[in-house]
């Protein structure tokens, strides 16, 4: 078994590092976007429209990944798009995590009526298909980044609440919690000082996966033009433009698509990798 275990470990390590590296580059790109991006992402130049990427004939070195049908630099738009993608991932992911995990911890540790109320809510939420929920919420809230973030939080908090509740419940039944209670500690301080650190690995894994979901949700909504105004560069709106001019300029679709693909894949692989990393059996 030792051999199989080390093999699993090595594979988990590789995907952890690969996905962390990609996401790290992306974060750097987003933070330093104005410094890194070779062009202004909004600058149009109709005479320099649909320039191909650097390795093809007729390319302009100032536009390494080519330009779109309005002559805007694809690379610069991708770099600036990372700001919105990662911003939504960070804000929506964190808020969902805080609300969902908080309610899950309370329900799982205190039990009783808080658990009854929270579990009932989770059941009702789960019965409502997420797509319908999203349609309704966006229709009501209107378009825009804050609507997207609210929609993600409102729809997805149950992902955290359900799992963390179960974890907090099983931790609450352990001896160390009982001995802390016998020692006369306040229940709330036990929750924060004893239970929380033990469910934290699960929270981190769920948060990573949730960030990937947030990125794709934002991309989909900006693809269908339900996100922020069209003059802001987002990966989703770039993909929508690329989809229209696919037969004339494939690079307008391909580069943002590859970026989005790698990002979504990285978040999910990072989450899965962390899950294995925290798993005491594999460790």
């Amino acid at each position: 078994m030792a051999d199989g275990r080390s093999q699993v470990k090595r594979r988990a390590g590789a995907r952890l590092w690969l996905s962390a590296t990609w996401l790290g580059l992306l974060v750097l790109g987003a933070v330093f976007a104005p410094l890194i991006a070779p062009q202004d992402p909004l600058a149009q130049d109709l005479f320099g429209a649909r320039l191909p990427p650097f390795w093809e004939a007729g390319a302009d070195a100032a536009f390494p990944l080519g330009s779109d049908s309005l002559g805007r630099d694809v690379l610069s738009r991708i770099i600036h798009g990372a700001r919105i993608a990662l911003g939504v991932a960070l804000i929506a992911g964190t808020l969902t995590c805080l609300i969902g995990s908080g309610l899950g911890l309370i329900a799982g540790y205190f039990r009783g009526w808080p658990d009854m109320v929270i579990s009932r809510l989770v059941d009702i939420w789960m019965a409502f298909p997420p797509v319908l929920f999203a349609i309704l919420l966006i229709a009501v809230l209107g378009t825009g980044l804050s609507s997207i973030i609210i929609a993600i939080v409102v729809i997805d908090w149950t992902r955290f609440a359900r799992v963390i509740r179960a974890e907090a419940m099983s931790q609450g039944a352990m001896d160390y919690v009982a001995s802390a209670q016998v020692a006369g500690r306040k229940r709330f301080s036990i929750l924060l000082a004893e239970i929380l650190p033990n469910v934290l690995p699960t929270i981190v894994v769920l948060l990573t996966l949730e960030m990937g979901i947030a990125v794709i949700v934002e991309a989909i909504l900006s693809f269908v033009n339900l996100s922020i105004s069209t003059d802001q560069p987002t990966w989703g709106s770039m993909i929508a433009e690329g989809r229209l001019s696919i037969h004339q300029a494939w690079w307008v679709l391909v580069f943002p698509l590859v970026t989005l693909f790698l990002t979504v894949l990285s978040f999910s692989q990072l989450g899965e990798g962390l899950k294995d990393h925290f798993d005491p059996v594999l460790r």
């Binding site: 309704l136 209107g142 979504v264 999910s268």
Partner: protein
Amino acid sequence: MTLIRRILLRLLTMAITLFGVAVIVFFVIRVVPGNPIAMMLPPGAGEEDIARLKALYGLDKTIPEQFVIWLSGVLQGDFGTSITTRQPVLALVLSRLPATLELSVVALVIAVAIGGTLALTGTRLRGTRSEGAIDVANGMALSVPDFLWGLVLILLFGVLWPVFHISGRVSPSLDLPFVTNFYLFESVLRLRFDIWADLVAHMFMPALALAIPLAAIIAQLLKQSLKETMHLDYVTLSRTKGYGENHVITREALPNAVLPTLTLIGVQFTFLIGGTVIIERLFSYEGLGNMAIDAVINRDLPLIQGIVILFALIFSVVNLVVDLTYAALNPRLRHG
């Protein structure tokens, strides 16, 4: 519990769920910040026009009264009038429903075919390098959503090697002799295989995009159950009887391993139907989901109401069918 009682119980819970959805939809729509009346008024409309329009839509009554009127209308099939097209919502929604149902069912068939094949092949080749390759491909397929697979397919089979259509439901040049909107089904009935082929060439890409994540889930779970079943004594027995490996997997292990996968397919099928909303948009496929996004963009609230309730009804029916199939197939529930 007998099957009849089970059916009645499920119908009751289905009615409660749908009522809950109706309540949520009604009240969520009523808290909309933008006044729906204001959007319908022509420029220069006076107080009198507003009052008349409010009375027409029943907006001058109290909220519970409005809900009763609205619900009784819904139960009689009156979902109101679309704000953008001025046509009855029910007719609009029903005209698009067949396209979405056909797409979903085709996607489900593809997902079962691919997922089942992968699971069986993986079991047949267990312990080899090929099994590892199947697992890795599965992991990829699982962690990337249908929207991205759709775009990848557009690039591969729409641009690089253009063999399939990547937008629309049917070529506009074709003369359609159909009386229903179930084009795919009716083209077979009428033996119009030229139209059938055109429909399939349009439908294959969006259906495959919807199918890939589900196929991966099916492959994963079915392979897992097959692996567990292969260790059971009766499988070893059939092997000692001299049956070949293929026979042992498909005839002996599969029937016992398939039940958990069937339940999962049922649950996942509702997610697949949910996925049609964005996939139809991506492939400009004229279905319910595409209409839903237009309705949201135009804030056509009556239409959104109708679409959401219809989707909820479809999900409930799928869940009901899955539950009953499971009961009919599982001997413990059948005779219990």
